[in-house]
């Protein structure tokens, strides 16, 4: 279906990433946000709070991030498309409810405008060091999806996709911005509503009594109901059967947890979004995401000017990790170079997928600013050997 025009600010704007992300959420149909404002993500909710009265929806400034993350799950079961917005310290507090969202298969978008950590770290300065936390932060086995925008325009465009993925797969979808992308201002083109495709919730067509809330279709995803529509259902964080009732035995656990992970893992290739540039005959491939991809592109240009055969892969979808693509390329490249604003997170995934068939050169950076292109260039030279 097409976007609701009331949420779409069609036109050409000069916006920072935080504001563009908010407009993306409104265009996607998000009508409930609960959050606890935190630098450098504050402008997302500030704008949402000022825009939502005109659009029709609710923003609640909660007492903390624990409350924010449970309020949005409630909002989703109340029938709304929902989002919460935070940065590292808040994300740490949300972990319990991220697990609850995973096991209850609640569609939710969680925006993390990353700043330097651990703890309160660097409130106003960038990092990309929450990448493993969003993948593994809550206990138990589950899968999530994570997108990594590299410009305000992508904060708008990819946010719509984040909501669509959350509704399609019923998993928490993480929108992994960083302080630079959040506060960087560029032109953002917002198309008319009739040119924006949005995915409606998978409402059941079954009648009360026939509907089983956790009976999944062939794609591994069950349909949902809205509170107040006549269905009596039970939603729990305990391991449950297709009826949604607790079923705490190894068989039910195996069935549920395999489905929660398989619905994403088996669709890894379909979910992948990799922007490749000159990888076909490359000796060295730079793998990057988010703001770092813009710095990496500058380094790749310099390396090519110096005669090196360098390719660039930018991961727009970071989780699920596109290990199939790394595995395909590993036998024919000398090395992967992985610059990131952390001391080695996605580089570990590249290493794992390359499985010893190509070297992985890590270009870690503790955060606080972005790499110098020269640092990445030095890594490319080392990898080209």
């Amino acid at each position: 279906m097409k976007a609701d025009p009331s949420g779409v600010l069609t036109g050409m704007h000069f916006l920072d990433g935080d504001h563009a992300a908010c407009e993306g959420a409104l265009a996607a149909g998000c009508r409930f946000v609960a959050g606890y404002p935190i630098t450098p993500s504050t402008e997302v909710v500030e704008r949402f709070a000022s825009r939502i009265p005109m659009v029709g929806g609710v923003f609640i400034q909660m007492e903390d991030e624990i409350a924010s993350s449970i309020a949005v799950l409630g909002g989703a079961w109340g029938g709304k498309k929902v989002m919460t917005v935070t940065s590292g310290p808040g994300l740490s507090l949300m972990m319990e409810h991220i697990g609850l969202a995973a096991i209850t298969e609640t569609p939710v978008v969680i925006v993390d405008v990353q700043r330097g950590g651990p703890s309160t770290g660097l409130p106003t300065l960038p990092a990309q060091a929450d990448m493993m936390q969003v993948k593994w932060g809550s206990h138990g086995d589950y899968e999530i999806i994570a997108l990594s925008p590299a410009s305000p325009q992508e904060c708008f465009d990819l946010m719509i996709r984040a909501f669509n993925l959350a509704e399609t797969w019923r998993v928490p979808v993480f929108f992994m911005m960083d302080e630079v992308i959040g506060h960087m201002t560029e032109r953002v083109d917002i198309p008319p509503a009739d040119r924006i495709d949005v995915v409606e919730r998978r409402w059941t067509t079954k009648k009360p009594g026939e509907y089983r809330p956790y009976a999944a279709g062939p794609d591994g995803v069950p349909d949902m109901v809205k509170a107040g529509d006549g269905h009596r259902i039970h939603i729990t964080g305990l391991t449950h059967d297709e009826r949604g009732y607790p079923a705490m035995n190894p068989a039910a656990q195996d069935k549920l947890v395999r489905r929660l992970t398989d619905k994403i893992r088996k669709n890894r290739e379909a979910l992948a979004d990799i922007r490749e540039d000159g990888v076909e005959d490359a000796d060295v491939v730079v793998v990057s995401f988010g703001i770092t991809s813009r710095v990496a592109a500058a380094a790749v240009d310099s390396a090519r000017a110096a005669g090196l055969k360098v390719g660039h892969m930018r991961l727009v979808v970071v989780w699920p990790f596109p290990e199939h693509r790394i595995a395909q390329m590993a036998p024919r490249v000398k090395a992967f170079v992985v610059p990131e604003l952390n001391l080695g997170q996605i580089a570990l995934e590249v290493e794992r997928a390359a499985a010893g068939r190509a070297r992985t050169v890590r270009i870690g950076h503790a955060g606080g600013t972005v790499h110098e292109p020269e640092q990445i260039l030095a890594g490319i030279r080392e990898a080209a050997g």
Binding site: H13, F14, T124, T185, E186, I291, R294, V295, A297, A298
Partner: protein
């Protein structure tokens, strides 16, 4: 004119970020070019060091930071002290001449410096707040980076409703002073 890097430095409350916003908006929305604005400011709302980095280019902008600006615009002594050494040789310095003394620090070789009493002009127009518009006009007049029309549209699009006329007058004051310094 493929890529022009501009840094604007001053104090919180002087309109530094708004100035960067207007240059970026003029370029990317009203002149069909690309622009990226990066801002840096301290935790205080007013009075702390504050700077904007604007890159204007014909192609999409990758690396977004301005390290060695082609054009440096300074509204405070501290900003001049901090950023003057980073100015590109043969670059342009535009400064608030009653706030900044060039004698304080040497400039890189070949730099052309242009001063303007922007705060005084703003006061003469009735509101000291519009000093940033005087400065944006001065940038437009001295650099000729974009058309006056693109700048004026960006000014009107960026200032609070009801203040367009005052802000445009301030912009034009700075623009005329700028073109006077660098005749066409």
């Amino acid at each position: 004119m493929g890529r022009t890097e501009i840094r604007i430095g001053g104090l919180g409350g002087q309109g530094v970020i708004l100035s960067g916003m207007i240059v970026g908006k003029a370029a990317s929305i009203f002149a069909g070019r690309h622009a990226t604005l990066i801002q840096a400011f301290g935790p205080e709302a007013r009075g702390s060091a504050c700077s904007a980095q604007v890159t204007v280019a014909d192609a999409p902008i990758g690396y977004p930071y301005v390290k060695n600006p082609d054009v440096l615009v300074v509204l405070s002594r501290d900003a001049y002290a901090q950023f003057a050494p980073s100015l590109k040789p043969d670059g342009m310095l535009l400064y608030e001449e009653e706030m900044v003394s060039l004698a304080d620090h040497p400039l890189p070789p070949g730099v052309k410096a242009y001063g303007i009493p922007a705060t005084r002009f703003a006061e003469e127009l009735g509101r000291r707040l519009v000093l940033s518009m005087v400065m944006v006009g001065f940038v437009a007049g001295v650099t000729r980076l974009l058309t006056v029309d693109a700048f004026e549209k960006a000014v009107v699009d960026s200032v609070p409703r009801g203040t367009e006329d005052l802000n445009l007058r301030a912009f034009r004051k700075g623009y005329e002073f700028g073109t006077g310094c660098v005749p066409v």
